[in-house]
């Protein structure tokens, strides 16, 4: 089981759009996928038409009083399940803090699911917190959407340095530029230069496209609703890159 997390300290950079499309593409390729919507806003749950509610809330999940698999819901797509958001996730930091090995609790919760799923995708809320630290410790691969600004690059450096200080397992990082506006010169320059200079930045970019924005209206991943669109093509390229970097073996179930 490989854990892939979409993470950025900033909000509105395309984390959820990436998480739902990567999860869908992995499932379409035949992997058994669980997407955990960790964001109390519940955007990923909304996109899959699943009510953002978990019995007992985040506290029961973190404390292990309610098994994680009790809360899992199937999406409308084969091989793709969702662990929905819950508004109580806003207090996850508090609940995590009361547990032993508080920075590794999330990985522990996912361990019993290792025979059931090949890929777990974590859609994280924008923050730097105990929850994000848990995500960083749990993940095998971090997908980091970047807005093409100088500040974003600095944020990526900070994240890399932070992870370098981990004992034991460290996630791989795959940053990529998101919400690129090709008409803007700065966007174009940064999106072309940085992947050439850094191995942890993907050559694939996700442009700012109305098809991606419309996902929240259609309530379905753009890779499913418009598989021939430019947006879908970009996400497929990103998924292929992520799959290789996460060293995922061939799927057990043929699509």
């Amino acid at each position: 089981m490989k854990i892939i997390a979409t993470y950025n300290i900033k909000g509105g950079v395309g984390k959820t759009a990436t998480a739902v499309n990567i999860a869908y593409l992995a499932a379409r390729d035949g992997y058994r996928v669980l997407l955990w919507d960790l964001d109390p806003q519940g955007a990923a749950s909304f996109l899959f038409r699943v009510k953002p509610r978990v019995k007992g809330g985040g506290k029961a999940l973190i404390a292990g009083k309610r098994p994680v698999d009790d809360a899992i819901k199937a999406t409308d797509f084969t091989n793709l399940d969702l662990l929905p958001a819950d508004f109580t996730y806003r207090n996850l930091d508090l609940h995590l803090d009361s547990e032993r090995k508080s920075t590794r609790r999330l990985r522990g919760l996912l361990t019993p699911l290792r025979h059931e799923y090949d890929v777990v995708v974590l859609d994280c809320p924008p923050s730097i917190s105990l929850l994000s630290e848990n995500v960083l410790h749990a993940a095998d691969l971090l997908l980091v959407p970047l807005i093409p600004t100088t500040l974003s690059v600095r944020t990526l450096d900070q994240l890399t340095d932070f992870i370098a200080g981990f004992d034991g397992q460290r996630p791989k990082i795959l940053a990529f530029f998101s919400m690129i506006d090709r008409r803007k010169r700065l966007h174009k320059e940064i999106a072309e230069q940085l992947p050439a200079q850094r191995d942890d930045v993907a050559a694939t970019v996700i442009p700012a496209l109305s098809a991606i924005e419309r996902m929240s209206v259609q309530r379905t991943p753009v890779t499913a609703s418009s598989p021939r669109s430019q947006a879908a093509r970009c996400y497929r390229e990103l998924w292929q890159d992520a799959r290789q970097r996460a060293k995922l073996p061939d799927p057990p179930v043929q699509p």
Binding site: F48, R49, V50, K51, A71, I72, K73, A74, D76, D81, R219, Q254
Partner: protein
Amino acid sequence: MPNALREFVLADDAAAPGDDVLQVGDPRFEIADGGRTRTLRRTWLDTFDWRLFRAGLTLELRSGAGVGELVLTGRDGDLLARVPAATAKRPAGQNGERIRWPCLVEALPLGPLREQLAPVAGVRALLPVARATSVLTERRAVNDDEKTIARLTIDRMAVTYPRAATAAPRLEVAALRGYQAQAGRLADALLGVPGITQAQHTSLESALAASGRKPGDYSSKVDVQLTGSMPAALALAIVLGRLFDTAEANVPGTVKDVDTEFLHDLRIAVRRTRSVLKTAGKVLPGTVVSQYRPEFKWLGDLTTPTRDLDVYLLGYSSMARKVLAATAAELRPFHDHLARQRAAAQRELARGLRSARFARLATGWRQSLAQLAAAPARRPEVSKLAASRIARAHQRVISDGSAITAASPPESLHELRKRCKELRYLLEIFASLHDPAEQWQAVNELKALQDCLGEFQDTEVQHAELRVFATQMMADRSAPAATLLAMGEIAATLAVRQRQARAEFAGRFAEFASPRGLARISALTRTAP
């Protein structure tokens, strides 16, 4: 198809194109299009004697566009194991061929499917018991968020084997994970729709029912219902008819050499028949008995060489494991010799079963039984015949067994074994006249004695045959010295087993001949109504 939460049967007119019947009229749910219609070719597999069905298992080979798998499900339709059909090949070293049905479990790929089937199917081959083509139309049940909560599959099944027929359309409702409660409410609502009823049978049972069969319709047991006041001649005609049904049912499988148990069941049916002919006395017309006793002896003798070699080969692995000094490779020429001998015996057997003599026997025997049943003598009643024959057979077992001492020759145990078989067959043939619990106990006690005598006699025969095999192998120069030495080890093992059986005999017989055992047989012969 996912595991169904509930299954329904649709009335023929309810499954018309468009499937409007599925509009449940419940505001909580809507039925939406669920994607393409697909065609699935389905083959259900079981042993000839329905061991999987009796164990609550269903094995199905499904193939269609993009699908090809062997699926094993349990009593509630729960998935137990699944193997992609593309990899359902013989294990490495066996040419990597695709499975050809019928096949033994050992030809299936290693894994959970084979592990669960092996103890159930045993030595019996898996063979197609029904075939059908299903046209599957998918629908989705969605809630007020337009979220799918259940998948509905309408299955229009055309049965192609054992007989072409159309089964009533079925509807399967499969809940999505996390939506079981909502899907349960939907299933309840569907029950209120005219033309939809809860399915009482599985797809396999429906396919078979449409073809005029039902699972479990074969058993080697003498399952006839007799009443005590029935004329004995009529009862015997019924029993003999049933026995010949069993014998004939096993002929094709024996001729095609599907597995060893076809011959075994055929042989037992013939033995039981011979036993009835021998013990019937004047109840059956003398002309019938004198004409058919030699014919059934011929049939029984025809089956003996192949069965003896089957017993050897079925026990070969166990015997080979007990050999200490020799290696498996040294013993191999012996196995190959047995296999060659068996192939020759099987050809002879198949020839006999395809012969005009067997055809004449079958036709004539059926006619004789029909005449017997049409005008049976009114006396004696079968309860009287059963009681006297069982009492007499039991008495012979007791007297012959009591005469056996430590100094008795092996032949005396062999004779006792034959007497025990006669008693066993009588108990089984007249079982429907007896109290089931008493009958079960009596057969079990007799079986314990028979097992001991069987072990003694089988090891005696195998030991004698081993000498014959060694002589044959030396004559045709297929036996290296190392193989003969290894066979010597087997002979020693057989001798040890025979001694053990001989030592156990006195205790087993004493138990059988105990006052409790005697009282049971007396009770049985009194219980006939």
